[in-house]
């Protein structure tokens, strides 16, 4: 079997051949499209290390069959920054020490971007913690992560208001 899918990957149109229906989006990104920023942790949807945005919504790439994604828009950690300008969530993670070893960080950041877009956590730390519960950090950097998401959420909301004014 060989199946062709078209993706918009980090803003760029890509035609991809899938030679085996068992290939997940995670393996497609890491092994075939040279985008290893998305991490494989549990490979079972439990740790969140593989979080990417699919059509603007956060999802576990390890549980998605790539064959089903024709036409999808995928954003990975590699697609967040604009050149040297970090995404506000990336910048806030650095400012607030939102990581230690860094392995879960791409997933944490993509999940935070998705959570902020969902719009109902705001800057309430309890809602942020609950909204981020699909991302496990073995180093236990949760305090910094919560502060980073709070800060990024505030800045992005302020910028939106500024842009609207």
């Amino acid at each position: 079997m060989s199946l062709f899918i078209s993706l918009t990957l980090n803003g760029e149109a890509r035609d991809v051949s899938i030679d085996d229906p068992r290939v997940t989006l995670l393996d497609l990104l890491r092994e075939r499209l040279a985008l290893p920023g998305t991490k494989k942790g549990c490979d079972r949807g439990q740790c969140g290390a593989c979080t990417v945005l699919v059509n603007g919504r956060r999802a576990n790439a390890c549980l998605m069959l790539a064959a089903g994604l024709d036409g999808a828009q995928i954003t990975t950690i590699e697609g967040l920054a604009r050149g040297e300008d970090l995404h506000p969530v990336q910048a806030a993670f650095i400012e607030h020490d939102g990581f230690q070893c860094g392995y879960c960080t791409p997933g944490q950041i993509m999940s935070a971007v998705g959570l902020i877009a969902e719009g109902d956590a705001g800057s309430d730390p309890e809602r942020i913690r609950e909204g981020m519960s699909g991302n496990i950090c073995r180093c236990g950097a949760y305090h910094g992560i919560t502060l980073a998401v709070q800060e990024a959420s505030r800045r992005m909301a302020a910028k939106e208001e500024g842009d609207a004014a």
Binding site: R22, L65, G68, D70, L115
Partner: protein, 351 residues
């Protein structure tokens, strides 16, 4: 993962025609793909339903009932303003399940079809009648906490792990299914089967049938002011229920005129007992009354000695859910949906 044949039909007719014994329907894949990786499920063919038109709509009818398309995601349903307003405990149950990522992927039909989380079902080397008919049941004499207290059989003690299904049972949802012979509706209470001596038969779906929608009536929306879901679990978030309860009341002048109570994680389907609900009618909310209703709901519960605490926990969960419902549905979804630690209106409470 075993190799399989992947098809992505573009119409319902094409989907139904592509069914063959040993195939699996694919929605969000959050349970199926995981079980395929573990080798617990080995479909010959995977039929991806995500490209069939019209399965992703939430439609309120003139009469106030709602039809929820099979491929609506858990997140989309829980965040749909009109839906959450009319069926708040369904939204609360949805938001208490899984993680933000999984809720974006998982579908409402897939939620009804999710398999038990019994560790012995997921462990290939363990004996499990549900996975391999006739193999035996290693869970029966184990310390597995996700164990049925009601409706179990010598062949199987598995529980249904769904949060979503618990309020759906309490609110008497209807499941609309389609097969080559047409469309039919299955009352929610009849959808999930108790194990008996055929635990591998899990739902009322016939070979080749699939869920196309769920229906909730306008009458079910009548409970919106006093409806809560409560879930007790090993950690505050992103864990399956140890015990859970959906409680909904209609109140007039401080008196309960109708009550609904369904328990989760205690049987192979959400557990609802008419006698327990009848006890509530005509009384003012009261801790002793809720205790009696919870007792009636758990009548006949059985557990091995080392898991008897789960019977007590289920009773207390039910009584507390009723008390929370009596207080009233919070104006805003709690920060920790369905949590015993969350206070109303999202106050910081558990740390």
């Amino acid at each position: 993962m075993k190799h399989f044949d992947y098809v992505q039909p573009k119409t319902m007719d094409e989907a139904l025609a592509s069914w063959e014994p040993g195939a699996s329907w694919l929605g969000g894949g959050t349970n199926l793909v995981d079980l395929m990786k573990l080798g617990v499920t080995q479909p010959q063919r995977v039929i991806d339903l995500t490209r069939i038109p019209d399965l992703g709509e939430i439609t309120f009818q003139q009469d106030g009932s709602v039809r929820i398309g099979a491929m609506v995601s858990n997140a989309a349903l829980a965040r749909h303003a009109g839906f959450a307003q009319h069926f708040p405990m369904v939204a609360e149950a949805l938001l208490s399940g899984a993680s933000g990522q999984l809720r974006n992927m998982a579908t409402v039909a897939g939620n009804l079809m999710q398999r038990t989380r019994c560790a012995y079902f997921q462990e290939e080397t363990a004996a499990c009648n549900r996975r391999t008919p006739g193999a035996g049941c290693d869970a029966r004499d184990s310390d597995e906490e996700l164990r049925a207290l009601l409706g179990a059989s010598p062949a199987c003690v598995a529980t249904n792990p769904s949060d979503f299904c618990v309020p759906l049972a309490a609110l008497e949802a209807q499941v609309e299914v389609r097969g080559v012979n047409g469309t039919r509706e299955i009352p929610f209470a009849d959808f999930h089967l108790l194990p008996g001596d055929q635990p591998e038969r899990e739902t009322a779906l016939e070979e080749g049938e699939l869920i196309i929608a769920l229906h909730l009536s306008a009458a079910a929306a009548g409970f919106a002011r006093h409806a809560r879901y409560l879930k007790v679990r090993d950690r505050t978030s992103f864990a399956f229920a140890t015990t859970a309860a959906a409680a909904a009341l209609r109140m007039e002048d401080g008196i309960i005129t109708e009550g609904r109570l369904a328990l989760g994680a205690v049987a192979a389907r959400p557990w609802r007992v008419a006698e327990a609900e009848a006890l509530l009618v005509g009384h003012a909310p009261d801790a002793a009354l809720f205790g009696r209703a919870a007792e009636a709901a758990m009548a006949g519960a059985e557990a091995p000695a080392h898991l008897e605490w789960k019977i007590d926990l289920a009773r207390r969960t039910a009584a507390r859910a009723l008390a929370m419902a009596a207080v009233g549905t919070p104006a805003r979804m709690p920060a920790l949906p369905a949590s015993p630690f969350g206070q109303q209106n999202g106050d910081l409470a558990h740390v």
